[in-house]
């Protein structure tokens, strides 16, 4: 049996404006998606902001009612059998919210253990075990308001494991964490995977998805546009090379000229304060560099690197340069 099954799931948000003359607007967040996740699988859901990732996770965690279509978790319908689904899942939405800052870490866990119906005797043993597992041993008595972002994220993990759920939904769990915190967090995810938990992970970090996920679905504008293993997705760009050009303040008109070049398959721009990184996908490899340089003539340039494509490049090609 699949742990999660989604069939033609769709979710439309309605927004209203005005009091006397009321107008409503519909926004399609998820448009007809279908996929299944096997027991024990670590499944990634990637996509740009607003692609429908969080909406999908919220429907699967019973927090949103789908507009149409069906979804089951462990065979239970997320709308009609929400209570059964809730007993079997845990979830984390990225960020610092979702905890009681005026309570200690231990009290937060005691509170949620009680809400998940964990026997008090069991939770007495489980809470120290989980605090130890997420690296918060010795800090459980402190108020959560004084925790760093990484500590709060780790407390979220402990909270979500209190009732030992079979299925975990991790929605951008490493967002905002420093590199060491994010690495520690990925190790926690790997440990959970080794315990045969089924995990649905959404993330913006491609290397994270590449390192962790068994399979990845790429979602854009509410539709699944690719579903494969990380290796399979990379095959989408196997014939390409990537030229990375470090630049400073290249105007949009020059970027348009680059996009118009016949050998440029796609161009993505990563902005980092004043610095820009141009990621040019091309079949010509290093031979493309002189023509790129002549188009960028007069611009302030930094280093130029030609490299093999990664999952991120496959993702950029799939979503058409949206980041």
């Amino acid at each position: 049996m699949n742990a999660i099954e989604i069939n033609h799931l769709r979710r439309v948000y309605k927004t209203h404006t005005g009091v006397i003359k009321r107008t409503s607007k519909e926004v399609i967040a998820v448009e007809d998606i279908s996929f299944a996740i096997e027991e024990g699988e670590l499944f990634g859901l990637l996509g740009p902001n607003g692609a429908g990732k969080t909406t999908t996770v919220k429907m699967l965690t019973t927090l949103l009612i789908p507009t149409s279509g069906t979804a089951t978790v462990k065979g239970f319908d997320v709308v009609k059998q929400a209570d059964e689904v809730r007993k079997r899942i845990g979830f984390i939405f990225g960020g610092e919210r979702g905890l009681y800052w005026r309570l200690s870490g231990i009290d937060n866990l005691r509170y949620f253990a009680s809400l998940y119906g964990v026997d008090p005797e069991v939770s007495k043993k489980r809470i120290p075990y989980l605090l130890d597992m997420v690296g918060l041993n010795g800090r459980g008595d402190e108020n959560v308001g004084g925790y760093s972002r990484g500590m709060k994220q780790r407390l979220h993990v402990a909270r979500t494991l209190l009732h030992d759920p079979d299925i975990l939904f991790l929605d951008e769990p490493t967002i905002g964490l420093d590199p060491v915190g994010a690495r520690d967090f990925r190790n926690v995810i790997l440990n959970l995977q080794s315990e045969k938990k089924t995990i649905l992970l959404t993330t913006h970090y491609m290397f994270e998805a590449d390192a962790l996920c068994d399979r990845i679905a790429v979602i854009n504008h509410g539709r699944i546009i690719a579903l494969d293993t990380p290796g399979g997705l990379k095959q989408h760009v196997a014939d390409l090379s990537v030229v990375e050009v470090e630049t400073f303040g290249v105007p949009e008109s020059v970027l348009e000229k680059l996009r118009a070049l016949s050998f440029v398959d796609s161009l993505a721009v990563e902005n980092n304060e004043q610095k820009q990184m141009l990621l040019v996908q091309t079949r010509r490899g290093a031979e493309a560099v002189p023509d790129l340089m002549s188009t960028l003539d007069g611009q302030r340039l930094g280093r130029v690197v030609v490299r093999e494509p990664t999952l991120e490049d496959a993702y950029i090609r799939l979503v058409g340069g949206e980041a």
Partner: protein, 265 residues
């Protein structure tokens, strides 16, 4: 529902109440609602009724205590749902296997229990500041009435909470809901002073019967039958409120999930 599940829910209610009190002890707004507002109301009412005797004083003490209970329930319990929404915990609370009404029961228990302080403070203001000699005419029935009042207020709060779950915009109407209940439930003066058409509305509100019972047990010459009838009605309408709230929670939670109002995004 079997005994084991009830016991589990009761344990959860106590944990929710404990955590609610722990958090609220650090909140200035809540301290004001529970401690200072009832003192101000009691002092003003006692000053207005100055010289009318200890019977009026105990009426005011009980009445100002009831206003504290109602304000606490309306503002603190209502706000607490919106606060849960703002801090991102409302979704977590809805997505646990424990029914949401059990969680709200625990929160209301904490708020109503804390608000009993209002009544004690009113007593202190009357006795120490105004020098009244206060006595409770039927102490045993007063204690029973107080326990059932707590239950009645919790149940009344259960009917209000689903509305706050459905939409954060409901908070705008809170102020408008506070005073009518003071008046309709006869906390500080008898409802006989109100137009006749309001009487049926008072009768269906558990706090009205709580006020009748508490005022009856503290006022000399009130027949016990009248208190017992009020307690019976208090229990009856409290149970009706539980049944109504159970249905309301289902409808409002479904609507909140359909309209995406559990979170802020």
């Amino acid at each position: 529902m079997n005994f084991r599940i009830l016991l589990k829910y009761w344990r959860t209610i106590l944990v929710v109440a404990e955590m609610t009190i722990r958090q609220q002890l650090m909140d200035g707004f809540i301290i004001f609602t529970i401690l200072f507002q009832p003192i101000i109301i009691a002092a003003l009412a006692l000053w207005m009724l100055k010289g009318k005797g200890p019977d009026y004083a105990i009426f005011v003490v009980v009445g100002s205590g009831l206003t504290g209970l109602w304000s606490s329930l309306l503002f603190i319990s209502g706000n607490s749902i919106n606060i849960e929404r703002w801090i991102g915990t409302l979704e977590s609370l809805v997505a646990v296997p424990t029914p949401f009404e059990v969680i709200v029961f625990g929160k209301n228990l904490a708020n109503v229990f804390q608000s009993l302080l209002s009544m004690i403070l009113g007593y202190i203001v009357a006795a120490w500041l105004f020098g009244y000699s206060l006595s409770i005419v039927q102490p045993l029935w007063f204690v029973i009435s107080l326990a059932l009042t707590i239950f009645g207020f919790i149940c009344f709060g259960l009917v209000i909470a689903p509305i706050f779950v459905m939409s954060p915009a409901v908070q705008q109407w809170q102020n408008g809901m506070e005073f009518p209940v003071y008046v309709l439930c006869g906390f500080l003066f008898p409802i006989a002073l109100l137009p006749n058409w309001t009487t049926p509305i008072s009768y269906i509100l558990p706090p009205y019967w709580a006020a009748v019972a508490l005022h009856g047990t503290t006022t000399a010459g009130t027949p016990l039958n009248q208190t017992l009838f009020a307690l019976g009605m208090l229990v009856l309408f409290s149970v009706i409120d539980i049944l109504i709230s159970s249905r309301l929670f289902k409808v409002m939670l479904f609507k909140a999930r359909a309209d995406a109002t559990l979170g802020l995004e």
